[in-house]
């Protein structure tokens, strides 16, 4: 069920401002791809363009193509809602729905998209929570509010919520930046398990994390304030962190970044 993503000459705009210019890369199915780079270099923007979340911001639009296997998600007549059902997303800050219990949060996507049967929903919730490695921690408080869990547990509820709708691609936008090291480790272990089933793209500021969890890494950079971000180099994670082709990549991953 995991699918390949091909990005072809993707440029992202916020109104007239070009935030990302001419990105071309491919994301392998059933693997973890990391995007790294300094703040404001457009890596999150590219990630959000992959499930058409970019255009939720007023005035935002893209040019170029994003192919999910053969289908261009920006093709004419494509329904962004359908794209988002196929490509799930986990955000930087845990954002469980405050009005819902743990269980309702996990099955929110299923229920809001029409699944009504209680027993099926309960099964799907258990499957997703086990998938997110959270079942044993929350099985006794499924009906307590989702907002009452710790930050790391909330983030894993959000991951469970994302995988409950059985997407083919999972996008993660700095999923650990608001979490402590223990919770981060739990999420990273989870990513390692999920890579067998899903195509995962993760944006991270933490280069150790990129080197730990990903097979391939793309380095984005920006030449100056007000300039669009660009993809500098994309290669196997090992190569990016040991012997990158570009001088700018080497400066960044070794911490000599200007």
């Amino acid at each position: 069920m995991a699918k390949r993503i091909e990005i072809e000459s993707l440029s992202c705009f916020y109104g007239n401002f070009k935030a990302v210019e001419d990105v071309t890369l491919s994301v392998e199915p059933k693997s973890v791809t990391a995007f790294i780079g300094p703040s404001g270099c457009g890596k999150s923007t590219v990630l959000r363009a992959l499930n058409r979340m970019h255009e939720v911001t007023p005035g935002a639009h893209v040019t170029g193509r994003v192919l999910l296997d053969q289908d261009d998600i920006y093709g004419p007549g494509v329904d962004p809602v359908q794209v988002r059902r196929t490509i799930g997303m986990v955000f930087q800050r845990p954002n469980p729905f405050p009005t819902m219990s743990v269980l309702d949060n996990v099955v929110a996507g299923l229920r809001l998209n029409g699944m009504k049967t209680k027993s099926t929903l309960a099964e799907e919730a258990e499957r997703a929570l086990r998938g997110a490695g959270l079942w044993d921690e929350v099985k006794d408080r499924l009906h307590r509010p989702g907002a009452g869990l710790s930050g790391g547990q909330q983030q894993r509820v959000c991951i469970a919520r994302a995988i409950a709708v059985q997407p083919q691609v999972l996008l993660m936008d700095e999923p650990c930046s608001a979490l402590d090291p223990i919770s981060t480790l739990a999420i990273e272990d989870l990513i390692a398990q999920l890579r067998d089933q899903y195509t995962i793209v993760i944006v991270t500021h933490n280069m150790q994390q990129a080197s730990r969890v990903s097979e391939r890494t793309g380095f984005f950079n920006i030449s100056g304030v007000g300039q669009p971000g660009k993809l500098i180099e994309m290669d196997s994670t090992h190569k990016i962190f040991s012997n990158p082709t570009e001088k700018r990549t080497e400066d960044y991953v070794t911490g000599r970044f200007g």
Binding site: V56, R84, N95, F97, N113, R161
Partner: protein, 351 residues
């Protein structure tokens, strides 16, 4: 200074403080001086005495604090005292209105007041009640709510979730204008449009329409503010699950904002429940029970109070006070119900 040598050196972080009994002593001093002034003449009324006491206390405290503790503490004490004073000044009229209404309203707060109308009760007759007015108020407020709340919530959703550009700004401006609309204008509008132009009769329904116009901007504004407080992260989380926009609004955004929306609706209800002017113009008013809001004149509690209070007879004035008390209780009960809804909603969310 033998004791001082036994103590550890004073911390440089501890400044000099006025003793704790200082405010009490200052109050006593201010009372004493104001008492002397009362005897001598300048403060020989209750208002003057209170004013002198307060002013003397504020001056004394500021001077003492400035001398001992320094300028920052003196300003802190002065502003703290002023804020407490403002609080008391705000509460006095509210509490005194409530006490006066209860005191005067209890005279006729009996079962016949809530079970009989004013039919065949002349201005000088004792007895009678406000059953007809209570029925009118409940029906008119309910109908007004049924109009204003859905429309108001939809307008707020438009402004927050969809509205961009000139049209949304225009709508927003008109809502602001409507917020300041004098209630008599709403009544005149319904009178000229519904009754004179369309030829409908006087009715409770016409009054409800006027009340709905007054309620609408309050519902829009409060709902809009509550919807704006819902974090965009929740909307994005819902979109990312492949949930369509309308369902995100209905199932995620509105439930999250619901306690605030309920409070806003209650503010609107409280506002219109006490309106006299528009009701006076378009429901005509009656002394008889009319449970049909769609035909014939109907009364309402504010109208009842207005008419009874204008009669030159103590029994009528007693009825007016009880009507006012009933109106206050009606609004308080609605508020209480709204608080309970909000409370249980929050409890369900575990907060």
């Amino acid at each position: 200074m033998s004791t001082a040598t036994a103590l550890p050196p004073p911390s440089t972080l501890v400044g000099r403080k006025l003793p704790r009994w200082t405010p009490a002593a200052l109050v006593a001093g201010a009372l004493a001086i104001a008492g002397v002034l009362a005897v001598l003449g300048p403060a020989d009324s209750i208002e003057g005495f209170v004013l002198w006491t307060g002013s003397l206390f504020l001056i004394g405290q500021t001077v003492a604090s400035f001398a001992v503790e320094g300028g920052r503490h003196a300003r802190d004490r002065l502003v703290t005292s002023l804020i407490y004073t403002s609080f008391v000044i705000t509460v006095i009229p509210l509490v005194s209105v409530l006490i006066l209404t209860i005191k005067n309203g209890m005279a006729r707060f009996d079962s016949s007041f809530f079970s009989s109308s004013l039919r065949n009760i002349a201005a000088t007759n004792a007895g009678g009640g406000a059953y007809h007015a209570l029925v009118g108020t409940i029906e008119q407020v309910l109908i007004a709510t049924a109009f204003a709340v859905p429309v108001g919530i939809f307008v707020a959703i438009y402004l927050v979730e969809f509205g961009t550009g000139g049209f949304a700004r225009t709508v927003s401006t008109f809502v602001d204008v409507m917020t300041g609309l004098p209630s008599i204008v709403a009544g005149l509008f319904i009178l000229s449009f519904w009754i004179l132009a369309l030829g409908q009769g006087y009715s409770g329904f016409a009054g409800a329409l006027a009340l709905a116009i007054l309620m609408l901007p309050i519902v829009v504004r409060s709902t809009e503010e509550m919807l704006r407080l819902v974090p965009d992260a929740l909307r994005e989380a819902s979109y990312a699950l492949g949930v369509p926009r309308w369902k995100t609004i209905v199932r995620i955004v509105i439930p999250t904002a619901l306690p605030g929306i309920v409070t806003g609706v209650m503010l609107g209800v409280a506002r219109v429940a006490g309106e006299t002017a528009p009701v006076l113009l378009v429901t005509f008013g009656t002394n008889s029970i009319n449970t049909d809001p769609f035909s014939g004149p109907q009364s309402s509690l504010p109208l009842f109070v207005y008419q009874q209070a204008g009669l030159p007879n103590q029994v009528a004035i007693d009825r007016a006070w009880t009507g006012a008390l009933t109106l206050i209780l009606f609004v308080m009960l609605l508020n209480l119900a709204a608080r309970l809804v909000t409370y249980f909603w929050r409890a369900r969310m575990g907060r």
